[in-house]
Symmetry: C2
Subunit: 107 residues, 2 copies
């Protein structure tokens, strides 16, 4: 193997490793919201969860999805589609359970 071919092979290996880290990162930040959704459903409460957080986060993830589509990046599209669905579900439950809690407080 020539030094140039070796350097190219190492650079390609590095690129694959860096991409792999990106995939693991995307997997973590996406699946992270599954236990949050489960917890809210189980407790039937989202009192401590911030509404502006999940509103802003959903808008941000939606914009990441638009970015992914325009930039033609499949991993960005895939991970942000899943995160958006999870984030919107948590947002919906926050609104739902907060309304229920408000009703229960009234006599």
């Amino acid at each position: 193997m020539s030094p140039l071919a070796m350097a190219t092979a190492i650079a390609r290996l590095d690129l694959v490793q860096v991409e792999r880290i990106g995939f693991v990162a995307a997997f973590c930040t996406t699946t992270a919201f599954v236990p949050q959704l489960v917890r809210v459903l189980r407790l039937r409460s989202a009192r401590d969860i911030s509404l502006p957080t999940f509103l802003l986060f959903s808008i941000g993830v939606f914009l990441w999805l638009v970015y992914g589509i325009l930039a033609g990046s499949k991993p960005v599209i895939a991970s942000n589609t899943v995160t958006l669905l999870l984030s919107l579900s948590i947002l919906f439950l926050k609104l739902k359970y907060d309304r229920t809690a408000m009703k229960e407080m009234k006599p």
Copy 2:
């Protein structure tokens, strides 16, 4: 302006626009966690917040940071550094307030 120069200018404009969407997306998904941190501090409770969510999310954001460093992407480094600090703060408060709540429950 030649058709090629015009096409290049349009393509560059598009790239700038796409990058701008990425920046707005990063701004949203980063600052989103500020109101969550404020809410937990204000309520002195993080009962409804999922521990595995913020644990997994922090690991994921840390890996995005590593990815950003290896890929040499300054926006990825900057946004994930801020998100990691916010995420770790929420995680720390979750552990702190849950421990306090546990102690108060014991006679």
